[in-house]
């Protein structure tokens, strides 16, 4: 008999409005233990609002959201006890050292001192900041601050880690460094809820991807299935000075189509950006 896997994160008709603007529109979502779930969409699509509702920072207008089985509105303290949060902006405390930032976090989560001390050292090593443990964080680069935020979010061993645009504004090398950290965290059994508008990030990291646009979830599946549904191959061509794309199930069909054309065209593998374009008619970053 297959064991029943309870979702760690669940939303039911979750809606958030700001006046006449619908930021999150009737969102139904279930994320199970061990997943890296990616929420992909352009800026302003509702990713961060969803993340803020799930981390108890924003109150939903209607619907329900549950984290670890606890309703985030009715039992926020319990819902928060098993989560770690890395917001998209840098919010480590510049007036404290790296060590003190982690110590404050451990104290806020009621960690026992001996365990906390051990975890702080382990996490500083994990994000390669051991040599800067006693430096004030205001002297850190953005990449270092982001790594410290990841260490802080993991210190109390949360069951769910919320990463809101974890690599936005970072250079490619630091971005890959953070991706490596995210994979390792997931391997150590943390479930990850990640929002991003970077296609590559969603493709490389996520087991399942939800595509959100204007607050609505317009697709949800494993990346492979999303690509399959759209077509694994794309033919890109110029039509009246505008780039146009056509999707094909296999390279042979795409090749036959290009051969029938009277102009230049390229064949490439499709990606999640193409899925988004096909669904919305727009690019993720417009």
């Amino acid at each position: 008999m297959t064991p029943i896997v309870k979702p760690l994160i669940k939303t039911e008709a979750l809606t958030k409005t700001y006046g006449s603007i619908i930021a999150v529109d009737n969102l139904d979502l279930e994320i199970t233990e061990g997943e890296i779930f990616g929420f992909l969409g352009p800026n302003g699509a509702g990713k961060t609002t969803t993340c803020r509702i799930l981390t108890t920072l924003t109150k939903p207008s209607s619907g329900h959201a549950f984290v670890s089985g606890f309703n985030v509105v009715e039992e926020p303290v319990k819902a928060k006890s098993g989560i770690g949060v890395v917001p998209q902006y840098l919010n480590v405390d510049g007036e404290l050292s790296a060590y003190e930032n982690l110590k404050l976090h451990g104290m806020l989560h009621g960690m026992e001192w001996g365990k906390m001390k051990m975890h702080i050292e382990k996490m500083l090593e994990f994000v390669q900041l051991s040599d800067r443990a006693s430096s004030l964080v205001k002297t850190f680069s953005e990449g270092m601050k982001k790594r410290l935020m990841v260490a802080r979010a993991l210190l109390h061993e949360p069951k769910v880690l919320f990463l809101d645009e974890p690599t936005v504004g970072l250079d490619p090398q630091t971005r890959r460094n953070i991706w490596g950290i995210i994979r390792r965290i997931n391997q150590e059994r943390a479930t990850i809820f990640l929002t991003t508008h970077y296609i590559e990030e969603a493709e490389v990291l996520c087991h399942r991807v939800g595509i959100i646009d204007y607050g609505r979830l317009i697709a949800l599946d494993i990346p492979e299935q999303l690509l399959k549904r759209t077509g694994r191959f794309v033919v890109e061509m110029l039509d009246d000075d505008r780039s146009k794309a056509r999707f094909f199930k296999n390279r042979e069909d795409a090749g036959r189509f290009v051969a029938s054309l009277d102009r230049d065209a390229i064949i490439r593998k499709s990606n999640l950006e193409d899925v988004f374009i096909k669904l919305t008619g727009r690019k993720v970053i417009d």
Binding site: P76, V85, L90, N91, D93, E100, M107
Partner: protein
């Protein structure tokens, strides 16, 4: 209460690091008041049967402890809207009341420190004040009351500019119109009645009475307790509303 201790610990780490600078900044404006009103106006001026400096110093304690305590409002405001570090408290599994208590206690430490500095300055100007339980309790309630009020305003205002406006409209007028620098008996009756609404009026009359070895006015003390409870409960509600 782990959250309270964590928040208080953070504030104390930062305060310890800046202690000399903070103490110097807390001393500057009271020192200027003492020079201007003490030396400038001379000790010959009599107010309510005592020299003006002796009358003014307890008022300065009330004023300085209020303003330094209330300064946490700007810090919380900046941590909410600029550094975003307040979210670290909001996403921790701690109650709103423990966040409020942590912030209030740290505000109270600032106010107590400011009061202590005035004691030293008063001694330097040759004024000896009575140190007693009534004085300590009056300063404790004054700082508790304004630290709670600071948390409320920092949760209500939406920007640093709004916070500065609030200080200009409420804190600055209170500083001068609540019996800190001159006795309220010199006010016309309507102004006297309005002054009774302000919490600092009651704090300054309790602190003055205790510091000068007189019985503290029990009604004023009771008013401070009532304001303390109301502001603290208001602060918890506001922090709850600011998150979930």
């Amino acid at each position: 209460m782990v959250g309270t201790y964590a928040i208080f610990w953070r504030e104390m780490v930062i305060l310890r690091r800046r202690l000399i600078r903070v103490m110097a900044s807390y001393a500057i404006s009271p020192l200027l008041f003492l020079i201007a009103f003490g030396w400038g106006m001379g000790r010959s001026l009599q107010v309510e049967g005592m020299d003006y400096l002796t009358f003014m110093i307890p008022g300065l304690i009330a004023l300085s402890s209020m303003s330094q305590t209330f300064s946490i409002a700007m810090d919380i405001n900046i941590s909410r809207f600029y550094w975003m570090t307040f979210e670290e408290f909001q996403t921790a599994p701690i109650s709103s009341s423990s966040i409020v208590l942590g912030e209030v206690l740290s505000g109270m430490v600032r106010g107590m420190l400011a009061s202590f500095i005035i004691f030293i300055l008063a001694a330097a100007f040759g004024i000896r004040l009575n140190v007693n339980w009534a004085l300590l309790l009056s300063v404790i309630f004054n700082t508790f009351m304004f630290a709670s009020a600071a948390v409320i305003t920092s949760m209500i205002v939406k920007s640093h500019a709004d916070q500065a406006s609030f200080n200009g409209f409420f804190i600055v007028p209170m500083s001068f119109l609540c019996g800190t620098f001159f006795p309220l008996s010199r006010f016309p009756e309507w102004a006297y009645l309005i002054a009774q609404v302000f919490p600092l009026t009651h704090a300054s009359s309790c602190i003055r009475a205790a510091a000068l070895g007189m019985d503290i006015p029990l009604i004023s003390f009771l008013v401070m307790i009532i304001y303390s409870i109301l502001f603290f409960l208001g602060a918890i509600t506001c922090v709850k509303k600011a998150s979930l």
